[in-house]
Symmetry: D2
Subunit: 346 residues, 4 copies
């Protein structure tokens, strides 16, 4: 079969690999019909994720069809259409039993990371019964690819951890795909204001279309001053960090209201300064989270019932065989006005 | 001044009464500019609320202008436009300190009940600092009358107690004004389905316009069977009782899913049968609540930010002096297709 | 092997049965070293649980040693000492994934009910990885038998659902084994008062030894009057029903404070009257629950760290082969001052 | 009257001051019978709290007797014995209405800070109805002084924010008075382990007496290594920072388990480094809080019901007139083995 293979920093190829086989009775083999590219894949290609080794098939998102199921798999059978979760969950360890699948002792984020991933014609999915979801009959499979990672990440790490509430004020720092996923899912809770902060006007325009009530361009505007004006000097109840650098995390500390929450989504490579001399008496909460994907069934319900239009996040379509070209588009997201790209293989 | 005065079961009159005066330093006198009639007022007139005595001015909802403020009032002054809460809260007792204003040791529901109410040209509001809210500049005061009682009641007793969640299924039994208030505010949480159950097709049509995803006429249809069909045989996650009779409460017990909640809003005059022989192992929760009006500031935010169109609940307008005619319309709600009526006095 | 077998209402025998074998790859066979008898077993013998059929081996509690493990079992191997949960959990269905194992689509309470149970020399445990717990090295296995059912039931259905809090007042109606399990585990939360209500003075004396701060004999005393005296007329914040008949459930409604919770543990065979005419405005919560056993790992921690002395619940010891005699003792609990009996098989 | 007056960094005197008078109708004047000294008072004396100006009477803790009550005070009258909260709460602002009294728009921490405090023969308490608590008849008033600040601070900022749970593992960094207050109140929730970390063996010995299950001297031992050994390599579920310097806050980040909480109590004068490069995927929560004193009534219940022995925190007694000597003892806490000192004035 063909797959997108990592060959060390800066190197990848769409090349022939052996078709995966069942190793454990809880595995399935999935024929990939849709996949996508994540910002994390770009990090891997920069060499930022050293545990990914030469020869690894990338990708941790996708929709497909069960090709073969291990003999301990009870919930899925050959021919079933499935959504693949970016998080593999054994369903048995203490973390899985309390809904913290991200830290599953045998799973967690392993696809396209520690084991071969989904940017391929076929992939092996371990712990299938607790790591896959059935595609409802008649569903739009493009829309469902957004359930593999980006929607649960924006929702769980940003919106749920940030305790977005009806009538509250939310500030989201970063209007890239993941910030926009938080923006879309924050609207489940009818906040009064969602203020999007980003240095790129194109992205801010997208945010407005997606439901932001106000936008601040923090390359040209004083974000702290403007947010304080918008909030009677109080700050935002929920501040969502969707970038992953010290400067944006430190900005969040200036935006949060007394009693508020900073919910981090960003993948950070460096430490940040925490201004405890200001914050110790401000009654705030800071959360971090690798997505658990516990919310996937609920998010699927919201898509099926038209409460969430996840297809808005998709800007480009490619054939799976053209994935190298798709990476080029996604790497130049600003130039291409790209959010998520869909790779199809039917 | 003129006021709507109760004279025992079946008797009321729009008649001259002494203008109220400040009694305690925490009182204010409000000139009423808008008021409305509640189903509870009809109960009083039927004689169902014996602690209401002859001579009492009715009404516990309204918007007005501060005419005079007691000398311990710090948050309001003459000329301020205010929303009156149906619940008076002293702000000091243990119930008030934990947000359960409904059970305030000196307040609670007293307006138009134990003290004179708001269906009058002027009214005395005790504990003004903790029982009134400022009308924002430029706000539509008709819309804000809905904040006195019906919206916080539908929201707190039905939606909050019912833990409505994104993607969940809600059933509301009763599509009168209070059931519709629950329907409107349930949508803050993006449930996948809101199924409205009522014997009146007109009311069900209103429910559809207000956002119900499905309706069941339980005079002609088998509500339990239909709801089970809509929910793969499981039942509803949240069931809201918005009628107040044994039959509807008992219906709720048949509609609720394992692990679900029955949130009672209805004012009950009789006991109901609780089928513990079925429910003991079903992991359900039943809640009751007299509205606390803790959510009023939040609901005001949602109205101001256009997340909630509370004016949809208003079907009729009268001059305050025509309140007897307004009662007639409201008492014949089905005939008149009436929800809430607004009485104006400018 | 030998087992205690049900032969229809009133009939049981300790008799020869075929030793169980692995049926599914997720099964294990456990050699029972300790088991006990539950009030539910007595209900079965009275014929109250008709789905239990002639020939069924009873029992859903116990500790033992793995004799054989199916080939999909990854967490347990031959020779491991294990605690058996009364609830079997597949770990995969939507109920299991949200911690509501009681309603597992393939499991739930099936041991000694729909499949053969633990009052036998050997038993087959399905879904072993998610239905068993390792016995810590050196632990007292008698104490751990209390983790199969009675402690998680008292804790989850009574204490957790009842939201017992530091400084609060708890009333427990019923001072039998399950009420006492609630009493022991309520003390995890340092309530100011735990008031035990029962018609049997012996049981109330046990309750005092186990930590009750006050007792009321409701055969000779007016429980409502006394509880109101103990609580300044307010009632109890948490009321736990640990009997299972209409009279005790109705008593709970008179004991609960405004804003309080009635947490039902009792197994009810009949409906009860719910006094909504009083309760609708009292802001109370009523919960029901079949135990999920989600708290078992936590309870094991509290036993190991000496925060909970579960052995206090054990009053009698028998050899497993003498189980018919043990049933006789347990059936005459009042006469024998019996709480839990341990049956050993080493 | 006599009072302890601040005269700029390093300077204080027990000297004559005018007896306070009622200024607002919600004020009371309290004759102080017991007060104490807080670590914050030492900070003020070092000049770390510049908003405290020359001439200010220090102190924000105490018990006393109402001398005079303003005419809008309804809950207290001359002669009542009262506990003074370190936080003044107006009871009306949006922060007070949601239980966040620390950020009261007109109150918060003002006593001995922005207005004259409690280290005096008399003090004026604003917002008396919502800032004082009645001393129960017969209570030990020494014990109740601990309710003014140290117990609610340890409990709310450390234990409540840290979500201490039965069976969990708690690490407390800092075994001074506030860390010990967290230790005492953490035991309300029956954690399996409470591990106390401090460089002073005397303090660690006190911690053991107060209920710590393990201690680590982090001047001579590797705290991270030892804690990991005690927790199977996982870390602590709750980590409470009770020191207030960057080094201890950074230590906390190394101690917390995936999914755990760092609850900050310490008063920080500098920023700390937040290791987001490690923590972003660890699903942790960090909280800060200035005490709200919402838990005071509950803590009073636990003292009255003997669930909490707050007198353990008191090591020294002085007459109020000897307060300068008491400061000397408290400033040399290590030398004197001092925790809290009581100053009496009867």
């Amino acid at each position: 079969m063909k797959a997108l293979v990592y060959h060390g920093p800066g190197k990848k190829a769409w090349e022939e690999k052996a078709k995966p086989v069942i190793r454990d009775p809880t595995d399935v083999i999935v024929k990939i019909t849709r996949t996508t590219i994540c910002g994390t894949d770009l990090h891997i290609l920069k060499g930022d994720v050293p545990e990914v080794t030469d020869g690894r098939i990338l990708g941790h998102e996708g929709v497909g069809i069960i090709e073969e199921a291990g003999n301990a798999v009870t919930g899925f059978k050959k021919g079933d259409h499935v959504i693949i979760s970016c998080i593999s969950s054994c369903g048995k360890c203490s973390y899985c039993r309390r809904g913290m699948y991200s830290h599953c002792e045998k799973g967690g984020w392993i696809l396209g990371h520690l084991i071969d991933g989904t940017q391929a014609e076929y992939t092996r999915i371990p712990f299938a019964d607790t790591s896959l979801y059935h595609v409802p009959a008649g569903a739009d499979e493009d829309a469902l690819v957004m359930l593999s990672d980006i929607l649960p990440t924006g929702f769980e790490c940003g919106v749920l951890n940030g305790k977005v509430q009806p009538g509250c004020t939310v500030a989201i720092v970063g209007s890239g795909p993941i910030g926009l996923a938080a923006l879309l899912t924050a609207q489940f809770y009818a906040p009064a204001e969602i203020i999007m902060i980003d240095p790129d006007n194109n992205r801010l325009n997208v945010a407005k279309k997606f439901g932001a009530t106000k936008t601040i361009n923090n390359s040209s505007e004083d974000a702290v001053k403007m947010l304080k004006e918008y909030t009677n000097g109080i700050g935002a109840d929920t501040v969502i960090e969707a970038v992953g650098i010290p400067a944006t995390f430190e900005l969040c500390q200036q935006l949060v209201a007394p009693g508020g929450i900073i919910a981090n989504i960003g993948v950070h490579g460096k430490s940040a300064e925490l201004h405890l001399e200001d914050l110790w008496a401000k009654n705030i909460t800071i959360t971090t989270r690798l997505v658990d994907t516990v919310s996937t069934p609920m998010l699927l319900n919201t898509i099926q019932s038209k409460k969430l239009n996840s297809k808005q996040l998709i800007t480009h379509h490619f054939k799976l065989a053209d994935i190298v070209q798709a990476y080029d588009t996604f790497e130049h997201a600003a130039r291409e006005n790209a959010l998520k790209v869909i790779l199809s293989n039917n």
